[in-house]
Amino acid sequence: MSRESIPIASLVQQDRVHRRVFEDPAVFDLEMERIFGRAFLYVGHESEVPAPGDFVTRYLGRNPVILCRHQDGTINVLHNRCGHRGALVCNEARGHVRRFRCPYHGWSFETNGALHAIPARAGYGAGFDLGAPEFGMMRVPRLAQYRGFVFASLAAEGEAFALPAMMRRCIDTVIERAPDGAIELAGGVHRYEFRGNWKAQVENILDHYHPAFSHESTAGGDGRQFRRSAGEDEGTPIYDDAGGVSGWDRAEIVAFPAGHGLQGPMPGADKPKGGALYERYRAALLARHAPERVAEILGNEWFHNAVFYPNMFIQLRALFVRVVRPIAVDHTEVCVYPIRLKGAPDEMFHSQIRFLNLTHAAGSLIQTDDMEMFRRVQAGLASEGAEWVVLGRGLDAERPEQDGRRAPGTSELSMRAQYAAWKRYMAE
């Protein structure tokens, strides 16, 4: 179906979205242009490129890009494309260079994208101004950073980068937990893919209606999940349905018009923690902060998951950054990067890594069943038996919160906010 015939406004209603939003390749093409081609997308964290010349390769929508640190120490996001004949310049996930060099004809580029040299330059006539930016590796036009998190927009013009105060506070909360006041993404990456639409993953981040059912196989006879870390005395209760009200509802959701949202605190987040390792961590914080401040930091598990729409997510308890990359209307890649709290005991990070292996690896005990559901949604929506996907749970319980809305934890508030933002991006 051609783009002109997509009735965007009618595909999203307050409590439902049309199946075409998930399965129409023309809608996907338009998303790449109007959402991923415009929005500030998360690219990476500055700790992934600590030294000048360090780079990692990423995608922004359909655009292969390079996140690198220039010789002057600044962060750059470059199109991974030679300014000559268009070849991909870097074919590795990460690396270190003095300069980039295209393997095709040997053109070389500075780590800020500027053309450095071309072989046999005299062969280009006077009409070629090789100093023009287009002969370099083009820079992604707009960059923004918040405390080491790098965002970029492929559009030269548009709304300025802005995160609601509560969303910024999510990042602040993660960083303040590090005794050295800094974090790094230095624990490798879980990289998984599924045969489903990218929005299935985004919806799922703040979906606390699903765990009791999707993840039923992770619970024992007592209805509790496996222990998630060595210090935990019992697993999280997976199902709590006293009087028809789920315990997950107490972990309320706040969502914003731009599609961002968060949830928490989780039931039990205020439970006192202990153990030798925890005490060493607390001591590391006490070496930097007054006892009152340390109590505040450790007691501040006020959110659980946070959605930075459209492509980045942070979880506080398990400490990771997750990034979604749409590949096709029915094909999605997701990367999960553990966050290391600098200055915290190494064993704490080890425990965190072991937990992420069990929960978020492609072969983990949790994520596998989520991926199965994302795949099943895609397969099910091939059916033309019904038009709509229903997102009305908790609509009546919504109430205003700062510049957003608040609703119970198992509500579908976050999806409604995501599709409201989706509709605004897509409609014009």
């Binding site: 996930a93 230095a186 624990g187 490798g188 990456v189 879980h190 990289r191 998984y192 893919e193 599924f194 045969r195 999707s214 039923e216 196989s217 992770t218 024992g220 496996f226 890649e333 999960v336 553990p338 190494d346 990070f349 080890h350 890594i353 072991r354 992420l356 292996n357 069990l358 690896a361 492609a362 072969g363 005990l365 994520q367 596998t368 069943d369 991926m371 199965e372 559901m373 397969a379 091939a382």
Partner: protein, 168 residues
């Protein structure tokens, strides 16, 4: 008198590796787990040069407790990603002894594996092939060999992978 130099006999080791492969293909997970020593572990790294399983993530890094949890889930009637379950057929070959304790108490065996996986599904079945290198540290025990650790290094361990619920 010249000391006697006798290489360990590879044949019983190969038989053990094939027995292990059959247990996994036959979904006899509990018996498979019993092949490990109580402090044994299974490790499938997430990159070819991953130095250790502690400081970066792995595809799988299971001690006995994690194996028990994973296998209990594989037996759960509502494990959706295995409804219906995968069928696997694996070949293990090219076994060589890389190192052996002089007293014959333990050795490290290197081998190659190819696993064909098929899972019936709608709209189409999942079919894929995994291949790579195994390293087993085997220790002699009264009941035969036991696995002190098993490292399964997939050739594509750093690729993006679809959901999997099998041990390699």
């Amino acid at each position: 008198m010249m000391p006697e130099i006798r290489a360990p006999d590879i044949r019983p080791i190969e038989e053990f590796l094939l027995h292990e492969a059959h247990l996994l293909d036959d979904r006899r997970f509990e018996e498979w787990m019993e092949l490990f020593t109580p402090d044994g572990y299974y490790w499938a790294p997430a990159s070819l040069d991953q130095p250790d399983p502690l400081n970066s993530v792995s595809l799988i890094y299971d001690d006995r407790a994690a194996m028990e949890t994973r296998i209990r889930r594989l037996r759960h009637p509502r494990i959706h990603s295995q409804t219906p379950p995968s069928r696997t057929a694996r070949l293990v070959a090219n076994a060589v002894i890389e190192a052996a304790e002089p007293d014959g108490s333990a050795c490290v065996v290197r081998s190659k594996f190819i696993i064909y996986e098929y899972r019936p599904s709608i709209p189409e079945a999942l079919e894929r092939v995994f291949g790579g290198t195994y390293r087993h540290r085997l220790v002699a025990a009264p009941q035969g060999f036991r696995i002190a650790w098993k490292k399964a290094i997939l050739a594509n361990c750093d690729a993006r992978l679809g959901a999997f619920a099998i041990y390699f």
